[in-house]
């Protein structure tokens, strides 16, 4: 069973539809007991870190996610879901986050002529091999919309990077967790391929 975590952080319709397109029903849930039974977890979300963490705690999904990560369940974080897996976020005054990976979420630096949010299609430079990248050409672009970016403490957790003013981590991976700052569910057939790769992945990577 593929579980999609609903913590009232944006619209999950497109995530569900993408999974449907791959022949997977996907169960949308706010229930930590359902998360505990998940064989695979998609952790999407848009919005602000502070509110997201408050709701995750209120619904006790924070503990459920940590338990699933420790148990080796394959997890895909998307956008805000790729940010709150770190320890802290600069958004909303140093928000304490899930801490599945060491590191923090930072604001994209503002500079003249650079548009924030980073909105639209951009490339990802793959730094490491990962089953998630199977069949994806370097020329592929993915849809981004964000003002903050994930910055894991360890360089070997960064699988891919993207440029917008700075070069920032856009794909992270460690053990049974992968996370994309972009939206694979909105990124055409290459995004769909990435989701397909996630669904086929056994969750083993690195230490």
């Amino acid at each position: 069973m593929v579980v999609i975590i609903d913590y009232r952080a944006g619209n999950l319709t497109s995530v569900v539809r993408s999974l449907n397109a791959l022949g997977v029903a996907g169960e949308v849930t706010q229930d930590p007991a359902v998360v505990a039974r998940a064989e695979r977890i998609v952790f999407p979300g848009v919005g602000a870190a502070g509110k997201a963490m408050a709701i995750l705690q209120e619904l006790r999904l924070d503990q459920a996610l940590k338990a699933a990560f420790d148990a080796g369940v394959p997890i895909l974080g998307i956008c805000l879901g790729a940010q709150v897996i770190l320890e802290y976020s600069d958004e909303n005054d140093n928000t304490r986050c899930l801490g599945l990976l060491p590191g923090r979420t930072r604001a994209l630096p503002r500079e003249p002529g650079l548009k924030i949010p980073h909105m639209g299609w951009n490339q990802v430079r793959f730094l490491r091999d990962h089953p998630l990248f199977q069949g994806l050409p370097e020329s592929a672009e993915y849809y981004f919309v964000h003002s903050y970016y994930p910055s894991p403490a360890r360089e070997d957790m960064v699988l891919g990077v993207t440029e917008h003013g700075i070069t920032f981590p856009s794909v992270m991976g460690w053990r049974n967790l992968v996370a994309t700052q972009f939206h694979p569910e909105k990124s055409g057939r290459f995004g769909l391929q990435l989701l397909k790769n996630f669904l086929a992945w056994d969750g083993s990577y690195a230490k």
């Binding site: 944006g10 619209n11 319709t13 497109s14 539809r17 993408s18 397109a21 848009v46 919005g47 602000a48 503002r110 650079l114 548009k115 924030i116 949010p117 980073h118 909105m119 639209g120 299609w121 951009n122 490339q123 050409p137 020329s139 592929a140 672009e141 849809y143 981004f144 919309v145 964000h146 440029e163 917008h164 939206h183 569910e185 909105k186 990124s187 055409g188 057939r189 290459f190 995004g191 769909l192």
Partner: protein, 259 residues
């Protein structure tokens, strides 16, 4: 590097696209879902639907269109036209649109932008602006004024001020339509687009006046736009999105070439 977005705009009335649209090498299609699918496969980076239905039961028809479009494409799309309050926004977003575009309602009640950004996130809220060039005055120091009703009603609000105010209130993007250029196919309003784009940090989609790929080149360089809205030039088969993107790529504009 972030690609410049090419965004076809579809006007929808009573669940059908308004114009007898003829794709290049294709037959007329009035079904917005079929058109969405066509443009998705043809390389559109995003789509905009503008609901111009007048009848009172308009919302249900459009929501059904949004739901079917969401199931047919894997790129973002926004919906504008007749978005008056938070409930209208919620209906459209829950049906599967990524963004809602507010125009007249936000001019009349700017708090709608702040409330929408608070409830759904800034990334969902597009400020639609219909702008007309006027004499510079004390009330309109930029010489560009906000208008509604297709330009027939002047609002007495300076466009430059309003763009900055909307950004402050939480709009995530601006779709900037020049009423003077709209429908002319003679090129975008470059002065206006550059002025607004340089005055805000959020992305600006240029709208109105696109007739040739060179017009897009101009607005994405001189006009400083982050994205370009197109309509007639692709709806009636004069150009394909591939042709437009090939042209822009050859002239050094970053565009998404593989889809």
């Amino acid at each position: 590097m972030l690609s410049k977005r090419i965004i076809p705009c579809l006007d929808v009335r009573d669940g059908r696209t308004t114009k007898g649209i003829k794709f290049k090498n294709n037959v007329d299609i009035g079904d917005p879902v079929a058109m969405a699918r066509h443009y998705y496969e043809a390389g559109a980076d995003e789509l905009v639907f503008y609901d111009i239905t007048a009848s009172s039961d308009r919302r249900n028809i459009m929501i059904e269109v949004v739901r079917r479009v969401a199931a047919a494409i894997l790129i973002p799309f926004s919906v504008g036209g007749g978005i008056r309050n938070l409930q209208d926004m919620r209906d459209v977003l829950l049906a599967g649109a990524e963004k809602v575009s507010v125009n007249t309602a936000a001019v009349l009640d700017p708090n709608l932008i702040a409330a929408g950004a608070r409830d759904f996130g800034s990334q969902c809220i597009v400020l639609g602006m219909d702008v007309k060039k006027v004499e510079v005055s004390e009330a309109i120091p930029s010489g560009y004024e906000m208008v509604i009703h297709g330009g027939r009603t002047h609002m007495g609000i300076d466009a430059l001020w309003w763009a900055q105010e909307a950004e402050r209130l939480g709009a995530g993007e601006i779709c900037l339509n020049s009423i003077d250029a709209d429908g002319t196919q003679a090129g975008y309003e470059l002065t206006l687009t550059r002025m607004i784009s340089e005055a805000v940090s959020i992305p600006v989609i240029a709208s109105g006046g696109a007739g040739t790929p060179e017009h897009l080149y101009e607005v994405l360089t001189t006009g400083r736009a982050d994205a370009a809205l197109i309509a007639s030039m692709v709806h009636y088969g004069a150009y394909t999105i591939q042709e437009i993107k090939d042209y822009l790529h050859q002239r050094g504009i970053p565009v998404r070439l593989h889809w």
